[in-house]
């Protein structure tokens, strides 16, 4: 809860020494409450008071660091309000009862690049199924493949053995419950790892989290319900809403959603749930598998949702050969706005016509916007044609219909090229290419 000036005043030294530059302690307190001054600017404020106040002015949702990955730290509920900062991370589930090598090998299959971002399974979720030695082995194997590890175990003895085995990896210790909280908190503190909190229902989860915070541990992730889809969704939304809308810091932590358990054995349902929790407030989504079929839509969705609304998504300006094109194929040109690239390349592929797609640097704007901003002009197009398509034998270049006005000027700059005006919309490309042939 945000503190009022009067609350801060009660904790102030009340000396009215003016050393902070303000006439009275009351005035200073008011300024701190408004955020105009920092509490540290008072030379006589006690350390405990400073700690308490910086807590009160901290962001509503903590950022939790796991290896190089960041979770949480969000400030808004909807992406149009500002920007989501920490994308949902996907984990694949393995247990000591499963064929660990096979699962880990499968989990590493999806690894590709999409608009400058590496898409892969970021975390391995190692669940304890009852065999301690096998569990420690599984944890070691999971730690060895270069992904972050979540140890999902509620037995303190097993947890310690696994933690000790992969201590350097700093895995997430997922399994503090009402029953084991003292032992687990000691373990998490000893090994310096993030701790996952589990309880049945929001009330119990809230109480347990408050209790752990009281023990001085604020390096936490909260588990939502893993037995009911309805409850899991209700909890994920209400936890996020409590922290961001009602600034209830006890719930100001990222969440883990165990989709693998919510829809065991149903791949399509796991995709559905992963989509739901990518949209609504899952920080880590645990799945049984991550096949290409699941990854292609999910990573695409995630990249869209977590993109900065103020920053256009760009693809690399270069020639993209489509349908096995070579120097004897026709060429077309468009801008580097990611959406334009995807839509146009999709249509070109659908046409089946071999064609070289030239992407020019247009600052990540769409065709008309780039043209209006001077980032797509006869000069920029001619320049990239000369740079990227110098060896081209078939010198036919299709121009986006929306910038047909540039044709004459481009023709002047590229006299040995045949400049053709293409359709205004990407959906007309298939028809256009069919007729052009």
């Amino acid at each position: 809860m945000a503190l009022k000036g009067i609350d801060i005043f009660k904790m102030s030294p009340k000396k009215n020494c003016k050393e902070c530059g303000v006439p009275t302690c009351m005035a200073f307190s008011m300024k701190v409450a408004q955020g105009a001054m920092k509490i540290e600017q008072c030379p006589y404020m006690g350390a405990d008071v400073i700690a308490k106040l910086s807590e009160a002015t901290a962001p509503p949702m903590k950022t939790i660091q796991v290896g190089d990955l960041k979770l949480g730290g969000e400030t808004v509920l909807y992406r149009h309000e500002k920007t989501f900062v920490s994308k949902t991370l996907y984990a694949v589930c393995v247990s000591d009862a499963s064929d660990v090598d096979a699962v880990l090998a499968d989990a590493q299959k999806v690894d590709y690049e999409r608009i400058g971002e590496r898409e892969y399974v970021e975390m391995i979720f190692v669940t304890y199924a009852g065999n301690k030695d096998a569990y420690v082995e599984a944890a070691k194997k999971a730690a060895a493949i270069g992904r972050e590890v979540i140890l999902d175990v509620e037995d303190a003895d097993v947890a310690e053995a696994a933690l000790a085995a992969i201590a350097d990896k700093k895995p997430v210790l997922n399994g503090a419950t009402e029953a084991n909280v003292d032992a687990f908190n000691a373990l998490a503190t000893k090994y310096g790892v993030v701790m996952g909190v589990k309880a049945e229902g929001l009330d119990a989860l809230y109480d347990l989290t408050a209790k752990i915070e009281g023990m001085g541990n604020k390096n936490l992730i909260l588990n939502v319900c893993d037995t009911s889809i309805k409850e899991a969704f209700a909890e994920a939304v209400q936890i996020r809403r409590a922290s961001l809308k009602n600034t209830d810091r006890t719930f100001g932590y990222p969440t883990i959603v165990n989709v693998a358990k919510l829809a065991a054995g149903d791949q399509a349902m796991q995709t559905a749930l992963a989509s739901l929790f990518t949209m609504k407030y899952g920080s880590v989504v645990v799945m049984e598998t991550m096949t290409y079929a699941q990854a292609l839509p999910l990573y695409g969705l995630r990249q869209n949702i977590f993109t900065d609304p103020q920053k256009p998504m760009k693809v690399e300006p270069k020639v993209y050969p489509i349908n096995g094109s070579d120097e004897n194929s026709i060429c077309c040109v468009t801008v580097d706005f990611a959406l334009t690239y995807f839509v146009v390349s999709g249509e070109l592929e659908r046409s089946g016509v071999p064609i070289n797609m030239l992407i020019t640097d247009a600052g990540g704007y769409s065709v008309l916007t780039a043209w209006a901003a001077g980032k797509l002009s006869a000069s920029t197009i001619a320049k990239s044609v000369n740079e990227c398509l110098a060896d081209q034998k078939n010198k036919t270049l299709i121009l986006p219909g929306k910038v047909a006005v540039l044709k004459g000027e481009i023709q002047e700059k590229l006299p040995d090229w045949n400049i053709v005006i293409g359709p205004r919309e990407a959906v007309e490309l298939v028809q256009f290419l069919k007729e052009y042939k």
């Binding site: 909807y78 309805k230 839509p297 839509v343």
Partner: protein
């Protein structure tokens, strides 16, 4: 100190719009909470799932779709089969054959198809056009006439042809009208205003504010839907309180992820799985952002999405 639940309540609500007749009629919208937030308040009409049938046949469709309709030779037979799909709430017939740049089937032929489909199933019927504004206006006019009293939804009137569509389907034959705009809250609002100004009641309008496949500029879709819902409920904007329908299949089955053959992309695996996952992920995301109904093609997608909706509501 126990956790204080603070449900997000609104005094406004999405309009409830009914399509179809008889026992199988179905209602879209009516809720006064954010999408799928049944923990905040009741959602009496859970989101609906429709099955898309294209009148140009099954060529090029994924194997799972072809197998499901094995033996069906006409759209009417397909509709009868589609109605048996687990979780299907309505049938959406896309009159692709009407496209002047394609088969250019006559309006009469298309109307005959629509009538046959309507007779083959008692599920509510959505008639989708061929994306040619002029031809669509004629199609919607004649289909509305031929299916008078069936309470169909025509999908959709656009800025270019809303006058004809609203006059015929909405006013003359009292069918439900879809309003389609291109992923922009202001365009969506404007078209709703224009259509209602012609005399069509807001209660007879369902909107499609545009869609995309996941990964294809989908952030605009999400933000448009979320802003529409927040304006409708939070600011009581009556011009944005129409329920939302999203034709998902026609977007997702056209992207590379769903179309590429297994020979071209061996590491991507089964085309059916890819198509289903793309369809399911996109459908669930639009439902979470504020859609009241999705239109899908693959039987497994229909089963999965409708099952998830049942779990959530």
């Amino acid at each position: 100190m126990p956790f204080k639940k603070t449900p997000q309540k609104f005094s406004a609500a999405i309009k409830a719009v009914e399509i179809g007749t008889g026992d199988k009629k179905t209602v879209l919208g009516g809720e006064g909470v954010m999408p799928l937030y049944s923990f905040d308040g009741p959602i009496e009409n859970a989101p609906k799932v429709g099955v898309e049938i294209v009148d140009t046949g099954l060529e090029g469709e994924a194997k799972g779709i072809q197998e499901f309709y094995a033996g069906c030779t006409t759209p009417a037979e397909m509709a009868a089969k589609a109605a048996t799909m687990e979780g299907a709430d309505f049938i959406a017939l896309r009159l692709e054959s009407a496209d002047p740049n394609g088969a250019n089937a006559s309006v009469e032929d298309c109307v005959a198809t629509a009538k046959a489909v309507s007779e083959a199933t008692d599920l509510p019927l959505v008639i989708m056009g061929c994306k040619n504004n002029e031809k669509d206006a004629q199609l919607f006019d004649k289909c509305s006439e031929a299916l008078a009293g069936k309470n169909i939804l025509v999908l959709a009137a656009k800025e270019e042809n809303y006058k004809g569509v609203a006059a015929a389907a909405g006013l003359a034959y009292n069918q439900k009208i879809g309003t389609e705009s291109a992923v922009d809250i202001n365009l969506a609002k404007q078209l709703n205003v224009l259509v209602t100004q012609m005399g069509v009641k807001g209660e007879n309008v369902i909107m499609n504010p545009g869609t995309a496949a996941a990964g294809y500029g989908f952030e605009y879709v999400v933000s448009t839907l979320e802003r529409i819902r927040l304006a409708a409920l939070g600011q009581d904007d009556t011009t944005l309180q129409m329920p939302v329908i999203t034709p998902v299949a026609s977007e997702t089955w056209g992207v590379k992820e769903s179309m590429a053959s297994e020979e071209d992309m061996p590491e991507w695996g089964s085309r059916d799985d890819r198509g289903v996952d793309m369809e399911v992920a996109t459908a669930v995301a639009v439902l979470a952002a504020g859609s009241n109904a999705v239109i899908l093609r693959h039987p497994q997608s229909v089963a999965t999405v409708s099952k998830l909706v049942k779990e959530l509501i």
